[in-house]
């Protein structure tokens, strides 16, 4: 092993460990804001591991979209809501036995799976490192827009439907809101607002 390999191994183990620990902390910390922050850490470390595996575009996009946008919004909401942590945990004891049963079943299934593994499942091949100059952003773009054009466009329609659904569920036209409408303010003409009257002068002798 040459030194660069050592460094790669080291980077993997350091970030991998942080990833696992922070993922564990996401579900164990008491405060939701801290949980969200550990999730940020989680995504960040995942991105590093992906870049290490040679998928630099996916790694950076993970940071850009999940860390940079989705989790910011999540934090935004969590900070605004005053979540009562104790209330969230109320049901825990009540549902614990059921959860334990489900967990047991899952463990049994996993054990069975590993048992099956020894029977002849060879596992998946490790990913192949591509050349350093290989531009996997371009490769991904070519795949998406050429070979997978049809699924890609379908995914676009899904996003559109999400947009329509969100607006359908939340848009409310409330009556009686006082908001500025600049266009109306600009369009207004004198005769809309001002009424010219010629008042009759008070009759002479009448007391005011």
């Amino acid at each position: 092993m040459n030194p660069a390999d050592w460094i790669e191994e080291g980077v993997f183990w350091v970030f991998g460990t942080i990833l696992v620990v922070s993922a564990f902390r996401v579900i164990t910390v008491r405060h939701p804001v801290h949980a969200a922050l550990f999730l940020v850490l989680c995504f960040f470390n995942t991105a590093v591991l992906w870049i290490l595996a040679g998928a630099e575009f996916l790694g950076i996009i993970l940071i850009l979209i999940y860390v940079g946008a989705v989790l910011v919004l999540l934090l935004f909401v969590v900070m605004m809501l005053d979540v009562e942590v104790e209330k969230l945990r109320e049901g825990f004891v009540r549902y614990a036995p059921l959860g334990a049963v489900v967990a047991l079943i899952l463990i049994l299934e996993l054990v069975y799976l590993f048992w099956a593994h020894t029977l002849g499942f060879h596992g998946l091949a490790a990913p192949i490192h591509v050349l350093a100059r290989h531009d996997n952003t371009r490769a991904l773009g070519t795949e998406l827009y050429r070979r997978d054009l049809y699924p890609f466009e379908l995914a676009g329609m899904i996003l559109l439907v999400g947009l329509i659904a969100a607006i359908l569920l939340t848009l409310r036209h409330r009556a009686g809101i006082q908001s500025q409408k600049p266009s109306e303010q600009v369009r207004v003409r004198a005769r809309d607002r001002v009424r010219l009257v010629s008042p009759k002068p008070p009759r002479r002798g009448a007391s005011t």
Binding site: L113, H117, D148, L149, Y150, P151, I158, L160, I164
Partner: protein, 481 residues
């Protein structure tokens, strides 16, 4: 240009979605009357063009397009045409009701079209990725449509349940599909059987694991027991036009999904998945028919009846034979026709001042609306499987396929459940014809095109029942290809 004709139905419907959204965006500048005409009209046009362009496919059009994303074969032609026509009918039956209750804005039409697009993608999907995206497109549109009447608590509850359970089911499906992809290294449904056939031992166990996930998710999307919990709530909670939609076209999508993914894609594993499907089918038969007996709400009753019918359809699949698969497709198309009629009549009655929620609301219907009562009787008899209505032939074809495989006990159970089913369908007829309620007032509303088409839909049940062979031949040809 071949691929252009292959994608034409999807393209028309997707274009319809965009056009309707665009029209809706013009609302501040255009009169409401104009939009109230233009939006449904463009929806109908898009669906009509989709059906037309698919029906023009000939043997020369068969093939796989878009690098294995889209397949054009007789099955996709049959189902694309059925889905488009059913969606067309759904719109026609619903227009009046939507207008009256204020849901007639563009979003209903846009979501209906996108749901249809999702189903079309499933129907013509030749690749696991496309199937999954189609399911998601369909599901997201349906979640939104169910909650379209957001002021009603019951609708919000139905939508929440549907959304959460649906999201879990999608996760399970995705997990199963990703296992399939990881093991086989291919997304193509044509390649999948070859890859599976070349494996043995432990890998097959993992494949089975993946298949179980897929079946659970499919059962959920189809509304089969024991994953049926959302069905009654959604049927009851949504406004009737939405129930009409949820109860019809997704069933066509589900059968397409099963035909493409399970029957074709996982064919080498059929010996393993057949028992699973059989179990789900028998459970659905029991749950659907027995629970329907206890219902007093008409829409809930139809929901449980839907679960029972799904059981029948899955029985056809579980035989693992060609004739069983033909019967399943045949059954689905007929079932959708009958459901269209039943919910269509509810909408017509609503327009005439009779909002049917409970079974008792149907009491004495025959005196006021003799024609609609008669059509409802057609629907009920056909759902119950009483000759000469077409529902009889559907049930018979499934039973024939079961007996052909020597599954006598399953067939006997199916017959028993059909008899149980007949009991509650006939109860509806009894309430309509023999229960009397005082203080009836008739509201006469002139007939329009929707009423005319609905009546033809009802008569079609008899006509198809008298000449059942034409549709059967069509399905047989589509599935055999």
């Amino acid at each position: 240009m071949m691929s252009m004709s292959a994608i034409a139905p999807e393209a028309w419907v997707a274009g319809g979605v965009l056009f309707v959204v665009l029209l809706e965006a013009l609302r501040p500048f255009v009169r409401d009357r104009t939009l109230a005409f233009a939006i449904p009209a463009s929806t109908l046009l898009a669906l009509g063009l989709a059906a037309m362009s698919a029906s023009f496919w000939t043997a020369a059009s068969w093939g796989v397009f878009f690098d294995g994303g889209l397949i054009v074969d007789p099955l996709s032609r049959l189902l694309v045409v059925s889905v488009s026509v059913v969606a067309l009918l759904v719109v026609i039956y619903s227009i009046g009701d939507l207008e009256r209750h204020g849901f007639g804005h563009g979003e209903y039409y846009a979501l209906l079209l996108s749901a249809t697009l999702g189903i079309l993608a499933i129907v013509t999907g030749a690749n696991v990725l496309v199937l999954f995206l189609g399911i998601e497109l369909l599901s997201l549109s349906l979640y939104a449509l169910v909650s379209i009447d957001r002021e009603r608590v019951i609708a919000a509850e139905a939508a929440m349940k549907y959304f959460f359970l649906g999201a879990i089911a999608s996760g399970i499906l995705l997990y199963g599909l990703s296992l399939l992809y990881g093991l086989s290294g291919t997304l193509s449904l044509a390649m999948l059987p070859k890859m599976i056939a070349g494996l043995g031992g432990g890998d097959r166990v993992l494949f089975l694991f993946a298949t179980a996930f897929v079946i659970v998710a499919l059962a959920f999307k189809f509304g089969a027991a024991p994953f049926h919990m959302w069905v009654p709530d959604v049927y009851e909670g949504s406004p009737t036009p939405i129930t009409l939609l949820v109860g019809t076209i997704p069933e066509l999508g589900a059968i397409a999904l099963i035909m493409r993914l399970l029957v074709a894609g996982l064919h080498p594993l059929s010996a393993q998945w057949m028992p699973m499907v059989l179990g789900v089918a028998i459970l659905s038969l029991l749950v659907g028919n027995l629970a329907a007996l206890a219902q007093s709400n008409f829409k809930r009753l139809l929901a449980y009846s839907a679960i029972g019918h799904v059981g029948f359809i899955l029985l056809g699949i579980a035989t693992g034979t060609i004739s069983g698969e033909i019967a399943a497709v045949y059954y689905t198309i007929i079932y959708v026709t009958m459901t269209l009629l039943a919910f269509g009549i509810l909408l017509v009655l609503r327009a005439r001042g009779r909002d049917v929620e409970d079974l008792d609301d149907l009491a004495g219907l025959s005196q006021i609306h003799p024609w609609w009562s008669l059509l409802m009787l057609f629907a009920m008899f056909s759902l119950a499987g009483i000759p000469p209505f077409v529902g009889f032939w559907a049930k018979l074809s499934i039973l024939r396929a079961l007996l052909g495989q020597g599954e006598v006990w399953v067939a006997v159970l199916a017959v028993i459940m059909a008899v149980v089913g007949a009991f509650y369908y006939l109860r509806v007829v009894k309430i309509m014809y023999f229960d009397r309620v005082a203080n009836q007032k008739a509201m006469s509303v002139p007939w329009g095109i929707p009423e005319l088409i609905l009546s033809m839909n009802g008569l079609a049940l008899i006509v198809l029942g008298l000449v059942p062979d034409a549709l059967w031949q069509l399905c047989a040809w589509a599935v055999r290809y």
